[in-house]
Amino acid sequence: MTRANPQYTPAGRPPGTRSLAEPVREWQKQRSERNTRLEVGSRYATGKWVPAESAKALLEAVIRPGDRVCLEGDNQKQADFLAEVLADVDPSRIHDLHIVQSGIVLQAHIDLFERGIARKLDFSYSGPQGAAIARALLAGKVELGAIHTYIELFARYFVDLTPRVALIAAVQADRNGNLYTGPNTEDTPTIVEATAFKSGIVIAQVNEVVDEVARVDIPGDQVDFFIKPEKRFYVEPLFTRDPASITETQILMAMMAIKGIYAEYGVTRLNHGIGFPTAAIELLLPTYGERLGLKGKIGTHWVLNPHPTLIPAIESGWVQQIHCFGSEVGMDDYMRARSDVYFTGHDGSLRSNRLISQTAGLYACDMFIGSTLQIDLAGNSSTVTPGRIAGFGGAPNMGSDPHGRRHPTATWLRAGREASAGAIKLTRGRKLVVQILETFGEKMQPNFVETLDSIAMAEKLNFDLAPIMIYGDDVTHIVTEEGIANLLLCRDPAEREQAIRGVAGFTDVGRGRDHKAVEALRRRGVIRRPEDLGIDPLDASRQLLAAHSVKDLATWSGGLYRPPSRFRNW
């Protein structure tokens, strides 16, 4: 093309010619730098294998100050050995790293910043280190880029946050560096794709070195070095909710959600959060759901982590298929034996993939339902509480209406029509985004507030943007023990506020309601109480749960689910 348009070439010169005064531009600097680093690093390697005791020397050889590094910290799986080694390098040799990873979960992740090895941070989720991150930010130890959702951070790996070095975790490696990631594949393919194909360096810690890997999750030519530490990598059990801890209030809310939302909208494709109210819903499908005749009509296709509390519904034939972001400790054999339901490799074990599952949850689900810690008068929700930044993870992707969606379903269209007051010919559908929570949380902390704690936190830390888990304009329903508020049917901010106050119970926000306005909303069906839905409070009993304990879940699974010891009390 350029040849045909010589007028567009710089300074009118034909392409391929250069003035002698111009310096030669190098187009493969990243590749040649990679080769230099690999050459230094290979001193510690036999082929791609590096002994654990040389790990620190390897990292000091291939990482340079200022590098952008992804230290695989996923929602669950942690490259914990590599994290500890990196946190132990000489800060005079390696410093000012820019850490780009989804989870800040381990103490070693914080140590990187405390020791000055890393300076800048872009991440998604910080669950157990939420308080430590807040402290490090206040102390000026961390220069924060942004707190992302998962898809958002992964997207930036391919645009402006591409890692120079990725330190990842896998179950097995063969001598060519082919990796088997096991059920917890999670973020690994995405991290490696971004790093390996942009002349970066990929180093894996593996649990075992084998002649032939169980399946190839990461091809060996994308892996530069692997190390086998003494200990296997750490996996955090995150999705196990003990049925014994589910309260009768949560059962009441679960009944309302099933009858007032799942059944009403015919929700078949969905994602659940990880709180107790949604665990209650999972355990009510084979009992209450069955009684309502909903089997096959709701909850058939899921984007969901392997929640043990879904086992009774799966075993009762409710669930057709589930794609998982990650795995869950103790669920491996169960999922292997239920390959019609779960995505598994030809080796038999689960294949999870966070980026793909998040995308599926965003575009191919008609509903997200999850809990939160604070909701304001506009329906904005946040999990930031004083002194803690928990990050986002995936909830904002699941809990948002994707404007790029074009395929209709009855559920999606109905929600869109409820939201539209006028002509509906070109009205697009809406994703159902449901927040389910009790009006008071731990220690009588109100879950409904005038102003989110997130805003004060953002001011204190000079954030340009207060962290909001789910924006109010994406929320379609709020379920509390007092009832369901359908925000799709609210026509202005004042109505919306009264609809929220009208289910906020005896919190200050709830007690500040305009009783007349709330009763008017109830007559219009914007607010529905348990009695409006024909729900008998006597049904809100633990007897209604399909399993009453973790042991019951193991029994439902025919012994295939093996709960981790912390959930075993028998």
Binding site: T439, T480, F506, P537
Partner: protein, 104 residues
């Protein structure tokens, strides 16, 4: 330990003929309610004994709301509270009232 009573008027007599019923458990974060049909048809009363002090205003709001919502005429509720949140209080009161409609 705090003890108090909340009295109210009901629109109608609570349905059923059962003389008394008991629901819930007196455990941490939970409560036990004894319901007795011992009052005139348009009166209702809740007696609260709670281990947690300082929430009397919330209790009164929760109980008045229950009276308006369910109209438990003729019933006296005795609550033994182990630090339940308002959602549990409302649920237990509603369950107690429903039990009075059922056969013992």
């Amino acid at each position: 330990m705090e003890q108090f009573q909340v009295r109210g008027m009901a629109r109608q007599r609570a349905p059923g003929h059962r003389p008394d019923a008991i629901t819930g458990v007196n455990a941490s974060g939970n409560l036990e309610v004894l319901v007795e049909r011992v009052l005139p048809d348009r009166e209702c009363l809740v007696e609260v004994t709670t281990a947690v002090t300082g929430f009397r205003g919330v209790w009164e709001a929760v109980i008045q709301n229950f009276f308006e919502r369910c109209s438990p005429g003729g019933l006296r509720f005795s609550i033994n509270d182990g630090g339940a949140r308002p959602d549990t209080v409302t649920l237990r009161l509603m369950q107690g009232m429903r039990l009075m409609e059922t056969a013992p």
